[in-house]
């Protein structure tokens, strides 16, 4: 295997959403070190940035069977559609690939679904926080996620009061967001829930307010520390635990390097996260040796696959011929932005490789390729097309099986492209 090609392909496929035409070939010329520098030091301003939609507070849901509910539902549907298209467009258009990939990572980490939140406005606010802190300070980020309206609705934070605490948020804060399972006790969960009491959220706007009457002001004991603590103190205490660095490194490893192999002990990411800054942790990973290790393969999730195809074929999600169709394909492939299946985020690897997804992927690919301008490939002599596609898609190498399947259809360009983007070599990031 060509390790240079492997490393550069991974930089594009995993630390971004895949290359745009010409980028991969250019990066091969520039070399691994220069490409790493480009990934880690993107332009200050994202020239591809898509302006977020203006989403207004729709207020309380009107009563059923009223004229108001019809208008309300129409607005809500339009807002959700706008939100989904905006983010997909942004993933495709961005020139700050790592930043955008980290927004996507954090969405899967602090996994919150619009299915329960129901309003688009809090989901947009949350996404903008992901954006601000994508590679920033994790301590501040975690504090903001506590007072995040969508998260408060999602995990019943507003229901957690001194009279009877609700543990939903406190448990997930430790298990899934900051420490990892088994790194705390059941007592810690209960005590943290008490420290989290006193907040209420407006569902439609996501505005979180403090209500002293609901607050438990007594001392709590969390991971051995006893004090009167509010969410800010409690979260600072959790984030300062060594287990927090271990856990965040594990999660980054799991999504960027391998969900099959565990994070090696004492990985350099852990030390690099000492100041709880995310950027140094990412540099430590990218500058380390793992990217050149061929054993760490990973399956592209449906959204990663779709956005990668759009980037390679210069398609824009909002300009595809049907939102309903695009959304439907993503839904059938079980991955729609803003709708993770549960608070643990999306699954990985083999979960995306059922026969059902193979079928939907082929249909989706056919629909997309039929809308793409393929003239650059048509212009090449057929014998050169497979190699061109490998660079276009950042595929490390075609297997003999795929090479021969591509050779047979190389005269029919749309079919050739469909095959290439459905091939095991593209679906899996080697």
């Amino acid at each position: 295997m060509d390790l240079k090609r492997l490393e550069i392909a991974r930089l594009y496929n995993r630390f971004g959403f895949g290359p745009r035409p010409g980028e991969f070939a250019q990066a091969l010329k520039a070399g691994v070190a220069a490409t790493k520098q480009n990934v880690l030091n993107p332009p200050q301003i994202d020239s591809g940035a898509v302006t977020p939609p203006v989403i207004t507070d729709l207020g309380k849901r009107p009563e059923p069977n009223t004229p108001e509910i019809v208008i309300f539902s129409r607005h809500l549907r339009a807002q959700k559609e706008e939100l989904e298209l905006w983010w997909l467009d942004q993933m495709v258009a961005t020139n700050k690939a790592l930043q955008e990939k980290m927004v996507w990572f954090w969405h899967g980490h602090w996994a919150t679904s619009i299915g329960k939140v129901n309003y688009a406005m809090p989901m947009l606010t949350q996404n903008l926080t992901f954006r601000e802190y994508a590679t920033g300070n994790f301590s501040e980020f975690s504090q903001l996620m506590f007072s995040d309206g969508a998260m408060q609705v999602w995990l019943d934070g507003g229901e957690n009061t001194v009279k009877a605490p609700n543990e939903n948020f406190s448990r997930e804060m430790m298990e899934l967001f900051l420490l990892g399972v088994n790194r705390y006790t059941e007592t810690d969960v209960k005590e943290l829930a008490r420290a989290f009491t006193g907040y209420q959220v407006s569902r439609s706007s996501g505005v979180v307010v403090y209500n002293e009457k609901r607050r438990d002001t007594k001392s709590v004991t969390i991971l051995g520390k006893s004090a009167v603590m509010g969410p800010e103190d409690a979260i600072a205490h959790l984030v300062s635990q060594p287990d927090c660095a271990q856990f965040i490194a594990e999660r980054i490893w799991y999504r960027f390097i391998s969900s099959q192999q565990p994070l090696p002990a004492n990985h350099q990411m852990i030390g690099a996260f000492a100041g709880r800054e995310i950027a140094p942790l990412l540099s430590a990973l990218i500058n380390g040796a793992d990217l050149a290790n061929p054993q760490y393969e990973i399956v592209k999730s449906p959204v990663e696959w779709f956005v990668g195809v759009c980037r390679a074929l210069s398609l824009t999600p909002s300009k595809l011929n049907s939102f309903t169709k695009m959304h439907g394909y993503l839904e059938k492939l079980s991955q729609v932005p803003f709708s993770p299946p549960n608070v643990g985020g999306w699954p990985t690897d083999e979960a995306w490789l059922s026969s059902a997804s193979a079928q939907f992927r082929i249909a989706f690919a056919t629909w997309l390729v039929n809308q793409a301008d393929l003239s650059a490939i048509e212009a090449l002599v057929p014998a050169k097309r497979a190699a061109y596609l490998a660079d276009l898609l950042a595929v490390v190498e075609w297997s003999p099986r795929t090479s021969s399947a591509l050779r047979e259809v190389r005269d029919t360009v749309p079919r050739l492209v469909i095959l290439a983007i459905c091939s095991p070599e593209y679906v899996v990031s080697a």
């Binding site: 329960k116 009279k163 083999e350 193979a358 099986r401 469909i418 095991p424």
Partner: protein
């Protein structure tokens, strides 16, 4: 593709599942033994060519994801402690469906009450396992692997499968992802996506078929990607009219207040398909279906009642469909959830994660009645119900009485039993 999932020493040394392992496991299960995703046509063909002999017992496992509140399912409505623990989250006695021993079913469970009256429902009370784990993901892994202490990479029904002749039809789960429950070391159960599969036809179909052949150069995941596409083409061509009817629409379920801990949302549709396939003679002894949404931390009463109503109605409808097929005597339905909920309601008219809960065994082979001791509402362990019956007692009895296999082959040496089945 016949690899057993490999676990590192670090992973094996851990006593409990981490969420990561559970997810990995649930995803990896299909690839572990190259278990195929089936199409309706596959099953239809098997049902025609080698139908399950009448009289063969069939197990239908219903997994309730999110942690069903047992105390508001089988309700101790004569116990004052119930009302004081849940001052605003209790049910008025006159609205409930009384059973025996001071217990009543949730008012929404009329279908199961009718079956209870016909003595076809065994309720096993206080079911759980030692040292309850309150993480959804860890606790579900414990129930599905059948192993509370050490973590195993196979499900309890997967280990039963390992003792059967290799047959992808032997155990089937509805939905496109296989639950760990059916993952075996030698063979895994199959997943049946709702709505079935459509095989790409014409030139693109042929080209994709070529693309899906195995390659020496494939890595593990590339091989899995090729296999998944190949399975798409290995389905048969025959369709029976029974199965080609359009699938009904999803239930309109209140996932709003308890829906963030996994599970599917269309139990009625799943059981409807299972009923059709059993009636058609599918050579399948174990079926797995699921319903999510039971994580009722807030405003529980209406949401849970709607979910329990779906469970009750879909199971009673399923069993009445079975009557027409002549196989109703063969069916046993088993219902469980990963944990019950805290006895004391929280401030939001919901409940937090707890420990023990009731299990249901339903069918003609079941000796209706109450089994296991009702956990006390006053002698709580850290605010939770004490476990009075180990789930392995129930599993052992199911393995022996429904799957007709020595329980030791699946669970190792385990002496507890719940004698809830009629003697053969």
């Amino acid at each position: 593709m016949n690899e057993i999932p490999t676990m590192s020493a670090e992973q094996l040394g851990m006593s409990k599942y981490t969420r990561r392992q559970f997810l990995k496991f649930s995803g990896a299960a299909t690839a572990a033994t190259a278990a195929s995703v089936l199409s309706m046509n596959d099953i239809a063909e098997a049902a025609i060519t080698r139908p399950l002999p009448l009289g063969t017992p069939i197990l239908v496992v219903v997994s309730l994801y999110g942690g069903n509140d047992g105390l508001n399912t089988v309700i101790p409505y004569e116990d004052a402690a119930y009302y004081s623990a849940r001052p605003t989250l209790n049910y008025k006695p006159e609205t409930l469906l009384p059973l025996t021993d001071g217990l009543a079913l949730n008012a929404s469970m009329t279908g199961i009450k009718t079956l209870w009256d016909a003595q076809k429902v065994a309720i096993v009370r206080g079911v759980g396992y030692p040292k309850p784990d309150r993480s959804h993901f860890s606790s579900m892994a414990i129930w599905q692997t059948g192993s509370p202490q050490t973590h195993l990479s196979t499900g309890w029904l997967g280990r039963w499968l390992d003792n059967q002749a290799v047959d992808p039809m032997m155990a089937i789960s509805l939905g496109s992802v296989l639950p760990p429950l059916l993952a075996g070391a030698k063979q895994s159960g199959s997943a049946l996506p709702l709505g079935g599969l459509i095989i790409p036809a014409g030139a693109i179909g042929k080209a994709c078929m070529r693309l899906s052949t195995a390659s020496q150069r494939d890595s593990k995941l590339s091989a899995a990607a090729a296999t998944s596409m190949r399975n798409l083409f290995s389905v048969s061509g025959s369709i029976t009219p029974v199965l080609s009817q359009p699938a009904p629409l999803d239930d309109d379920l209140p996932t709003v207040s308890g829906g963030n801990a996994g599970g599917d949302s269309n139990l009625t549709q799943q059981l409807n398909i299972v009923a059709k396939l059993i009636a058609a003679g599918a050579p399948t002894k174990v079926w797995s279906v699921s319903l999510g949404g039971f994580d009722t931390h807030a405003n529980e009463a209406n949401a849970q009642a709607a979910l329990l109503g779906t469970v009750s109605t879909s199971i009673s409808k399923f069993l009445s469909q079975m009557k027409a097929s002549g196989r109703s005597k063969d069916i046993t339905v088993m219902v469980y959830s990963e944990f019950g909920r805290r006895v004391k309601a929280n401030g939001s008219d919901g409940t937090d994660h707890g420990s023990a809960g009731p299990m249901f065994l339903i069918g003609d082979r079941v000796q209706g009645g109450m089994y296991g001791d009702q956990p006390s509402l006053t002698k709580l362990i850290d605010g939770d119900l004490a476990v009075t019956t180990d789930f392995r007692d129930v599993y052992s009895s199911v393995i022996e009485n429904v799957l007709l296999t020595p329980a030791e082959k699946v669970l190792g040496k385990w002496s507890g039993r719940v004698k809830a089945f009629k003697s053969a």
